[in-house]
C-alpha cells in the first residue's frame, strides 16, 4: 500500500509506513467489523453501502471453513493479543483485559462476526452473557446488539459500548506481523 503523495510504503495490517518519507508514521485505526450482508442489513438499516462491480464471488460464509485459521487481533505499540475464532465459537462471550482495561470479546456464530468492546459504562463494569440467544449484561439485564454495541432494551437502552479497533485476520498473517502477540 503506497500513498500517492509521498510514495511511502505502508503495511495495511500494521497501519504503519515501513519505508519512504513517512516511515514510522502510524495511521489511526477505525474500529470495523467483518460480518455478513444479512447481519449488517438487519443491524444497520440506515447505513450506506459501497456499490462497485463485483470482482469476486467467493467471499461468503463458506470462506470460514477452518475457524482455527482466523483470529480477532488488537495491537498497540509493542502489545498485541489475539483471540481464535475456534475458541470464540465454543465460548462466544470472553471477558478479558486489554492494556489494563476490561474488555469483552463477542462472537456471532451465524454471521461469523467477532467484536471487541470496552465494558466500562459510566464507571460501572459490565459482564455479559447470552440468554436464549439474546446478549444481556448481568448487572442490569439490559439487552445488547452484538454488532452495534448498543443497548436495545432494559435500563441501559440507548447506551453504547466503546468499540475497540480489533481486526479479523488470518492467524498466520497475525503471527507474521506481531511476533510477540499473546493468544487468548
Amino acid at each position: 500500500m503506497y500513498d500517492k503523495e509521498t510514495g511511502s510504503l505502508w503495511s495495511h495490517i500494521l497501519g504503519e509506513a515501513m519505508s519512504g518519507k513517512l516511515k514510522g508514521t502510524e495511521l489511526k485505526q477505525v474500529p470495523s467489523v467483518m460480518t455478513t450482508w444479512g447481519q449488517w442489513k438487519e443491524s444497520h438499516p440506515d447505513s450506506s453501502v459501497a456499490m462497485l462491480d463485483p470482482t469476486a464471488k467467493r467471499f461468503t460464509t463458506k470462506y470460514f471453513r477452518s475457524l482455527d485459521h482466523f483470529v480477532l487481533g488488537i495491537a498497540e505499540g509493542s502489545d498485541a493479543a489475539a483471540w481464535s475464532l475456534a475458541k470464540l465459537d465454543k465460548n462466544p462471550v470472553m471477558h478479558d483485559t486489554w492494556q489494563e482495561s476490561p474488555i469483552v470479546v463477542l462472537y456471532d456464530k451465524d454471521s461469523f462476526s467477532p467484536r471487541m468492546y470496552g465494558r466500562m459504562l459510566d464507571d460501572k463494569q459490565l459482564n455479559f452473557r447470552f440468554v436464549d440467544g439474546r446478549l444481556e449484561d448481568t448487572q442490569t439485564r439490559s439487552t445488547w446488539n452484538l454488532l452495534t454495541g448498543r443497548a436495545t432494551g432494559g435500563p441501559l437502552k440507548g447506551k453504547h459500548l466503546v468499540a475497540m479497533p480489533a481486526i479479523m485476520s488470518f492467524k498466520r498473517a497475525w503471527q507474521a506481523f506481531h511476533e510477540d502477540s499473546e493468544y487468548r
Partner: protein, 134 residues
Amino acid sequence: MNSKTGNIAVRWTLLSLIALGIALILTGLAYLWQNEDADLAAQGQTPWYVAEPASHAPQSSAFRPIKVVKEFEPITEFPTVSVGDVGERLNPSELVLGVTIGKKSRAYPINMLTGPSREILNDTLDGHAIAATW
C-alpha cells in the same frame, strides 16, 4: 552398427535426457508457483504476477512484500447506495466490512474489494477521511 551411427544414438539419448530433465524442472516450478498462488487465494488475495517494482519500491530489509504489483490510480470516487436500494445485488451470506463513525455507517462488500486494483477504497465518512483496505 558402425561407430558413427553409435555416436549419433548416444547424442540423441543425451539430448532426450536433458530435454526430459528441463521438462521436469519446469513442471516442478509451475507446481510451486501454483501452490503459492493458491496460498494467496486462500488469504483472500487475487493471485497476481510480479510487475517491475516502482522507483519507490521498498528498500527496508525488515519489510519485504511477497510481490509488488504495478501501480494503480487511487480509487477516491465510487457509488454508494442506501441499504434499502441494494436489492438483489448482494446475497445475505456475502461478507462485508462495516464501519461506524458518529452516526454514519457504511458497508464495503468484500467481493467488491478484491483484486490488486481494488483493495484500497479512499473514502470519507462523517467528515473523516478513511481508507477501507482488504
